[in-house]
């Protein structure tokens, strides 16, 4: 069995207030698609499960910037809270009545393609997530009131995806890396 991360999409609306030319406070409302894959190996090669988890997140970060007037580097550091909205699973599973033979485990008769919403289980699933976030990026003042930015960010969850519902529970934490490209409109003086 092999576990892999999954790429996804993120989109958000940021708001930033600069107290000084090098320090500001930034908050965002962002959608983030997280996920993971499980692939079977050896004699079970071909069976797999891809899970997509949809989150709505609000990171709040201190923004430190440095550099020139037009081109500046910046560092974000802070925390975030998020809500787990939905979960979708796509996979290849065994149809146990599919006339399995030793010669060929997987064919159209012996497999079932799953593709659908996963139900949340209130006993198990923690719909709330919180953690640390930080990023490193650059921004360029394109116009007097418009700048573009590129940032590499990490969301590091400190809360478990699951509740602590059993002894010797194995915790699951999301660690998400994102590459963000954005346009900001500068308001105020």
């Amino acid at each position: 069995m092999r576990y892999d991360s999954r790429g996804g999409f993120t989109m958000g609306v940021p708001v930033q207030y600069d107290f000084t030319d090098w320090f500001g406070l930034r908050a965002e409302l962002a959608y983030v698609a997280k996920g993971q894959s499980v692939h079977r190996t050896h004699s079970f090669e071909g069976l797999k499960s891809d899970i997509r988890n949809h989150y709505l997140q609000i990171p709040v970060m201190a923004n430190f910037s440095f550099g020139g007037t037009r081109l500046r580097g910046f560092v974000n550091a802070g925390a975030y809270v998020g809500a787990w909205l939905a979960s979708i699973e796509k996979g290849i599973n065994v149809n146990v009545f599919g006339h399995l033979t030793d010669a060929e485990l997987l064919n159209e008769n012996t497999t079932y393609i799953s593709d659908g919403k996963l139900d949340f289980d209130a006993r198990r699933d923690n719909r709330f997530e919180a953690g640390l976030t930080g990023g490193l990026g650059i921004r360029y003042l394109l116009l007097p009131r418009m700048e573009v930015s590129l940032e590499g960010r990490c969301y590091y969850a400190l809360t478990d995806q699951q509740k602590d519902y059993m002894y010797f529970h194995t915790p699951r934490y999301n660690t998400t890396f994102a590459l963000l490209a954005g346009i900001s409109f500068l308001l105020g003086k």
């Binding site: 201190a62 146990v96 009545f97 640390l132 059993m166």
Partner: protein, 436 residues
């Protein structure tokens, strides 16, 4: 100077933020150390208890619906096994231990094992569950064998009977042939040395296929093992199933089909392609299964439909298809019953079955759950959880028949006298449609 102070302040704030960040990043809980239950190193009573508790904790497929509080069992019984180890150590350290004291401790250990494991497993609903624990204390052996479903729960049902429903079945079938009631009979008593069947009674188990004079085709079988013998044309199982399939193919007007799975203890899932698939001409959806997807008790994969495809050589049977079962019908016998109940012409006549509906794969590596064996502890249990097409999980409950027919002492006595009243009820249903 002012610039230096500003620079130092920026540096301080940045360092403080990252310092706090790094501090909180250590707040994640560590994953517990979990071992494959088949590789647990057992060297005392505590480690034996932990091997069993953890093995079931991670492998048992019914935690979603089972009423047992498994964490409470850990709290209650870990100290009990730790106490046993302390006592054992005291005895081993003592200079003079009499034979009586040693025997008393062996008895205490056996009683503790019986009580602890018995209480832990009493309400587990998996009716395939078969637990064997064997450990050694000097020259003495401590043994535990538990079947909470079949041995503890089944006898509590008000219709429970401890007699074999199909005792003398083959004698009755032979009489029917002699009387001209049936033709084209192929069958016989199951070989007495076959490991799955208790060879206690003459005619205790029978494989048979035949046709009544008016075209009802019957198949009696005690276990789903046709696939094991299909390569051997001389095996009674192969001859019986091929005769059944020939009768399906060649009987011009099939009046009905009867599958007799009374006392049937299940077997190969694939046997459904020898038995039911030749009678359908399109896919039938007979239920759903799911298995574990992780070590958590509530980690499950998606519900996967169980679909039976028509056999390559098939003939659609529109006449009634009947399954005869009883309280001892389990596993594949129940899945066949549920499959027939999905057909518009299907009918199950008998008793509410055992309720062991979860398929067993026997390969722990398939989903890292289900049966496990580490030499000291052998647990045989379901790998997958089953639910009906209507979404009901009937593990521990069983298949409810469409027409109830209870194995009463009167029915048993009739069987001893040469009359199979349940089989006759099936004939009546097929011939008249009477469901009362």
């Amino acid at each position: 100077m002012k610039t230096n102070i500003r620079y130092l302040f920026k540096l301080f704030v940045g360092a403080a933020v990252w310092g706090v960040t790094l501090f909180f990043s250590s707040c994640r809980d560590d994953a517990p150390e979990l071992l494959n239950p088949q590789e647990y190193d057992i060297n005392n009573n505590e480690s034996l208890f932990l091997a069993f508790w953890h093995g079931m904790n991670n492998s048992y497929v019914y935690w979603d619906v089972d009423p047992t509080d498994w964490d409470a069992m850990y709290d209650q019984y870990l100290p009990v096994f730790q106490d046993l180890d302390e006592k054992m150590e005291q005895i081993q350290m003592a200079d003079n231990v009499s034979e009586e004291e040693a025997e008393a401790f062996v008895r205490e250990m056996q009683e503790t094992y019986d009580e602890a494991f018995g209480n832990m497993c009493r309400n587990l609903i998996d009716h395939h569950l078969d637990i064997n624990i064997q450990t050694f204390l000097g020259n003495d052996t401590i043994r535990v064998n538990l079947m909470p479903g079949m041995r503890d729960e089944l006898p509590t049902r008000d219709y429970y009977h401890d007699f074999e429903t199909v005792w003398r079945l083959y004698s009755i079938i032979s009489s029917m042939e002699a009387n001209g009631e049936i033709v084209d009979l192929v069958g016989g008593v199951f070989p007495p040395n076959y490991p799955l069947i208790k060879p206690n009674e003459k005619d205790a188990s029978a494989f048979a296929s035949y046709r009544t004079a008016d075209g009802i085709i019957c198949l009696h079988f005690p276990t789903f093992s046709f696939g094991d013998f299909v390569a051997d044309p001389s095996a009674i199982q192969t001859q019986v199933i091929r005769n059944f399939q020939k009768l399906i193919d060649e009987t011009p007007d099939v009046r009905g089909v009867i599958f007799d799975v009374r006392g049937n203890n299940g077997g190969n899932l694939d046997d459904i392609y020898e038995i039911l698939a030749p009678l359908i001409d399109e896919d039938i959806h007979i239920g759903y299964v799911r298995t574990k997807s992780g070590t958590g008790r509530l980690d499950y994969g998606p519900w996967t439909p169980c679909v039976v495809h028509p056999a390559e050589n098939h003939r659609k049977i529109d006449a009634p298809i009947v399954v005869l079962n009883d309280i001892f019908s389990i596993s594949m016998a129940e899945m066949l019953s549920m499959a027939v109940q999905t057909l518009p012409n299907g009918c199950v006549i008998g008793e509410r079955t055992a309720g062991g509906t979860g398929p067993l794969f026997g390969d722990f590596n398939f989903s890292y759950n289900g049966a496990f064996d580490n030499g000291t502890i052998q647990v045989s249990c379901a790998t997958l959880m089953w639910k009906t097409v209507s979404g009901e999980i009937i593990e521990g409950k069983g298949v409810t028949p469409d027409i109830e027919f209870l194995q009463t002492p009167e029915v048993y006595n009739a069987m001893c006298q040469g009359s199979d009243l349940q089989l006759e009820r099936a004939f009546e249903y097929i011939r008249t449609g009477n469901i009362e």
